[in-house]
């Protein structure tokens, strides 16, 4: 079943000579380049960004003709690793081998000429140009004159070979997201990519489009090409991948596990794992009045697709409700509708006052504080001083405001106090906040929000990308705020964080709450399963497993 070498493995760079080659008549491929059966091998890859070790001695290998899933939460280091393979980043240490030969990539161009092409989550297409023009863009050939008809025919033939339906003459803006993704894939194939890296390709797709994508991927692997499939959806991984590598916090927790025989529960455990978070002294929660009531709230995301589908939630004073969800399941939109940044249908009340669809300023006046997901663009103004950033929620009120003026001295005193109290390490309050470390910036944002003495705090990914010390200080601030009687909604993809802080865990999947656990009964395996689309009582039901051909990918090699 999981024979590592697919029957149709072929020398690199050569496309199959027609899908019509009879399944049995495939030449008994003389073991290609005996030294290395691997299409790609990464050894000991290390990549650090300021404050984060994104890849910590990561090993990864990809066999010809397989779909290899790379599974992990946001920030686990999957994309970093793949960006290294695609030539966007250079590793700090480690070695890359393609077809057994060591390579170094200075740019995506180098990677593509070695046969590695990546399709990013955000497409890089020119909307006003046709499919063919987009595919030809940036190529050395044709040099001067476009032979449009010929190129169109090539694109059409290539698309057809892998079962993709795209009209090469249509302008890209007229295409659906799924079709645009096909153009991206075609772009890579046209450039001779034998190894395709797809970064969360299904995140933007409707279920049916995802099925079509899977069919395409299968016909590609059947033709000896290999696919790396980045995802955090377990069902998909089990449905499409031959093997899976799981990453967590920059490290590989399972390397090249065959998906045959793996269960969702296993993968969920590997993915969310358990790490050693400093245990916090946490006084028992004393829930008081209901502060936040959400009833029947629905909203769409930035692309106009439903993100929240009739959500109900109650949060009381003095409790932390943790919302566990994988990115893109509606939790960001939930935070935005509560804080007045996104419109919605349904009813939201804070302390009894309706706040749904009210201006952000109105919501602020109801005592709602917000630690936004994007701390550098939403939570702070990067080129303004620490003072300017700290008074963001205070400049309307005395003493920082004096009539229609801002009292500079009062503002500076206020900022200095906060810098002192919350130990924000900055040379001075005049420092531009883009120069602060992530931890200090987050402390500054929390300081500002906590100083508004909020009745409700909505904290989204408050510790993403922070080091352990900073994480702990953020956690302490949240617990202190709870002890002061604030209601807190904590949205995080870090299950550890939610389990460490929350008094109640609500699991969200595809815009709905799918499970609720008091802290004492919260169990990581079950939550992980619910987060990733499994249902509570089944253990290993595979989405898409009703289609027996779905998995594993290449059984006989002939897509027919």
């Amino acid at each position: 079943m999981t024979d590592p070498i697919q029957p149709e493995t072929e020398p690199p760079g050569r496309p199959v000579t027609g899908a019509g080659a009879t399944a049995t008549g495939a030449p008994p491929a003389a073991a290609p380049t005996p030294a290395s059966p691997l299409a790609v091998e990464a050894r000991g890859i290390v990549k650090a960004f300021p404050g984060v070790l994104a890849n910590d001695r990561v090993d990864f290998d990809l066999r010809p003709g397989e779909v290899h899933a790379l599974l992990g939460e946001n920030g686990a280091g999957k994309s970093t690793l793949m960006n290294i393979l695609a030539g966007l980043y250079r590793p700090d240490a480690g070695q890359l081998l393609v077809d057994g030969r060591p390579v170094t990539f200075d740019s995506p161009r180098d990677a593509i000429s070695a046969g590695l092409g990546m399709v990013h989550q955000h497409f890089t297409l020119v909307p006003s140009q046709t499919v063919t023009e987009n595919i030809l863009l940036g190529l050395d050939r044709p040099r001067f004159l476009l032979h449009e008809r010929r190129s169109e025919a090539e694109v059409a033939a290539l698309a057809e070979r892998f079962g993709m339906i795209v009209d090469p003459r249509v302008r890209v803006w007229q295409l659906s997201v799924g079709q645009q993704q096909r153009v991206e894939i075609l772009k890579m194939l046209y450039r001779g990519a034998r190894i395709l890296i797809l970064d969360e390709p299904t995140a933007v797709l409707a279920p049916q489009e995802a099925d079509e994508l899977f069919a395409t991927l299968r016909s590609m692997t059947a033709a000896g090409r290999s696919v790396v499939f980045i995802s955090h959806k377990l069902g998909e991984v089990l449905a499409i991948a031959d093997r899976v590598t799981v990453m967590r916090r920059g490290r590989v927790t399972a390397a090249g596990l065959p998906t045959a025989g793996a269960t969702k529960a296993d993968l969920a455990r590997l993915m969310v794992g358990r790490s050693v978070l400093e245990s916090l002294d946490r006084p028992p929660s004393v829930p008081g009045e209901v502060v936040l009531t959400i009833h029947g709230v629905s909203a769409t995301n930035d692309r106009g697709l439903p993100a929240l589908r009739g959500v109900d939630l109650e949060v009381r004073a003095g409790e932390i409700v943790g919302i566990a969800a994988v990115a893109g399941n509606g939790q960001s939109e939930l935070a935005e509708v509560v804080t007045g940044l996104r419109s919605c249908t349904g009813d939201i009340r804070v302390g009894g006052t309706p706040v749904a669809n009210r201006s952000t300023a109105t919501v602020l006046r109801q005592g709602v504080a917000h630690v936004p997901e994007d701390r550098t663009e939403v939570g702070s103004a990067p080129n303004l001083s620490l003072t300017d950033n700290l008074i963001m929620k205070r400049y309307r009120d005395a003493p920082v405001a004096r009539g229609w003026l801002v009292d500079d001295d009062a503002a500076r005193t206020f900022a200095d106090d906060l810098r002192e109290t919350y130990r924000i390490a900055a040379p001075s309050v005049e420092t531009e906040v883009r120069l602060l470390s992530g931890g200090n910036l987050q402390r500054a944002i929390l300081a500002r929000e906590i100083e508004t003495k909020p009745g409700l705090l909505v904290a989204v990914q408050p510790t993403r990308g922070l080091d352990v010390g900073a994480i702990e200080s953020v956690h302490r601030l949240l617990i202190d705020l709870r002890s002061k009687g604030a209601a807190i909604v904590l949205i995080s993809e870090e299950l550890d964080e939610i389990l460490a802080l929350a008094d109640r865990v609500e699991v969200m999947y595809e815009g709905r709450f799918v499970g609720s656990f008091p802290a004492a009964e919260a169990e990581i395996g079950r939550i992980g399963l619910l987060m990733t689309g499994g249902s509570d009582d089944e253990q290993a039901v595979v989405v898409g497993a009703d289609d027996p051909e779905a998995w594993p990918a290449a059984t006989d090699g002939d897509p027919g």
Binding site: P15, L158, R191, A381, M392, L435
Partner: protein, 383 residues
């Protein structure tokens, strides 16, 4: 050898002003080279430019007269630019301001013989209102319909010019000439030479009250931008609109107000120009003050105080245009200054790193895979 631009993590305080000065210096060197190329003597030209704009108290006064509309339009641009509103319509707002002020005496909206103490404030208000209205149009369009303000403000410049032409060729034309009749004496802004009787040294000095408008406006804009709550909001919106929205600021409303104030400042410039030095309305009242204002605002890094200095510098260049033949030279210098300024802006944010030694090879060890896949099998051959 490769040259790379790397983002700067820290920007020393001196760097930005130093680069601004360096940009002007480089621009002068480039312009000098061009002057030399066409057979001129750059040193002599520059000395002549300086002499003809700062050389005596008389020409200094003329320079300040030219600087006056630039200060006000420069402030208009700087204010909008602070919020990343690209108002390049100061020219049109200037013209509308001039028209609005003129309407008071030409329509006329007040009886003849109205004393200056009433007439001048009235014309100021009318000029600012007309300019502000011209600014309000792109403001509302952007706030309501997200229409690009650059296009709208640019186009409105031409509409404003055509509007003025309509009035000076038509209803307000004096005897068929493309200009209005002169304003009554009461409408003229007082100038220094008016006081030559009591202070003989003021004799012949053309500096008028408009300069005071400019300086006071610079002070007010400074107070507004640097000290007021509204100014704080503008800074916040300018740096990160999403952060501003998160802080509960209604960006659309701020945008309309800023555009209106910006237009009113440019309108006041137009009023000061017709009332202070032209004294009648015609379609050639501006040699492009509203466009030069963009460079002035840029050179001043959008700081009101520095706008005054930069405006005087450019006032001198405009004045020198009368002295230098061909008169395009100062315009060329202006253009080159803008160019070098924009380049220097990149250097404020990035440092240049020059790496010696070539990269191993652009195309590392890779199987000789063709960029374009071998032509896909034709259907005919396959079947």
């Amino acid at each position: 050898m490769t040259i790379r631009l790397e983002p700067r993590l820290t920007t020393p305080r001196w760097l930005s002003p130093a680069l601004t000065l360096a940009a002007v210096a480089v621009a002068l060197i480039i312009s000098g080279a061009i002057i030399a190329l066409v057979g001129g003597d750059p040193i002599a030209s520059y000395i002549h430019i300086v002499g003809s704009s700062f050389g005596s108290i008389g020409v200094l006064s003329d320079t300040l007269v030219k600087a006056t509309p630039l200060i006000l339009t420069g402030l208009a641009c700087a204010l909008a630019f602070r919020m990343r509103l690209w108002n390049i319509g100061a020219e049109g707002q200037f013209l509308m301001g001039a028209w609005g002020a003129s309407a008071v005496v030409l329509a006329p909206l007040v009886p003849a013989g109205t004393p200056g103490i009433v007439l001048i404030p009235l014309m100021m208000v009318a000029g600012m209102a007309a300019g502000g209205l011209w600014g309000l149009i792109p403001g509302i369009l952007k706030a309501r319909l997200a229409v690009n303000e650059i296009i709208v403000t640019l186009m409105l410049n031409y509409i404003a010019l055509a509007w003025i032409q309509f009035w000076v060729f038509g209803p307000w034309s004096q005897g068929g000439f493309q200009q209005s009749k002169p304003f009554p004496r009461e409408a003229w802004l007082p100038k220094l030479s008016d006081f030559a009787g009591s202070v003989p040294a003021f004799g012949g000095l053309t500096v008028h009250l408009g300069l005071l408008f400019g300086v006071v406006a610079a002070g007010l804009v400074w107070l507004f931008l640097e000290r007021s709550r509204f100014g704080y909001e503008i800074r916040l919106i300018g740096d990160s609109p999403r952060a501003a929205r998160y802080a509960g600021i209604d960006i659309g409303r701020r945008l309309v107000v800023v555009f209106a104030i910006s237009g009113a400042l440019a309108g006041l410039a137009g009023m000061a120009e017709v009332n202070g030095s032209v004294h009648y309305l015609q379609d050639h009242i501006s040699p492009g003050y509203g466009f030069t204002a963009i460079i002035v605002a840029y050179l001043a890094k959008f700081r009101p105080g520095r706008v005054v200095v930069a405006a005087i510098l450019f006032g001198a260049l405009i004045l020198a245009g009368r002295e230098i033949q061909p008169s395009g030279v100062p315009a060329m210098i202006q253009g080159i200054i803008l160019f070098t300024l924009i380049v220097s802006d990149v250097l404020v944010r990035y440092r240049v790193r020059i790496e010696r030694g070539s990269r191993a090879s652009g195309w590392p060890t890779s199987p000789a895979s063709p960029v374009v896949p071998a032509a896909p099998p034709s259907k005919a051959a396959g079947s």
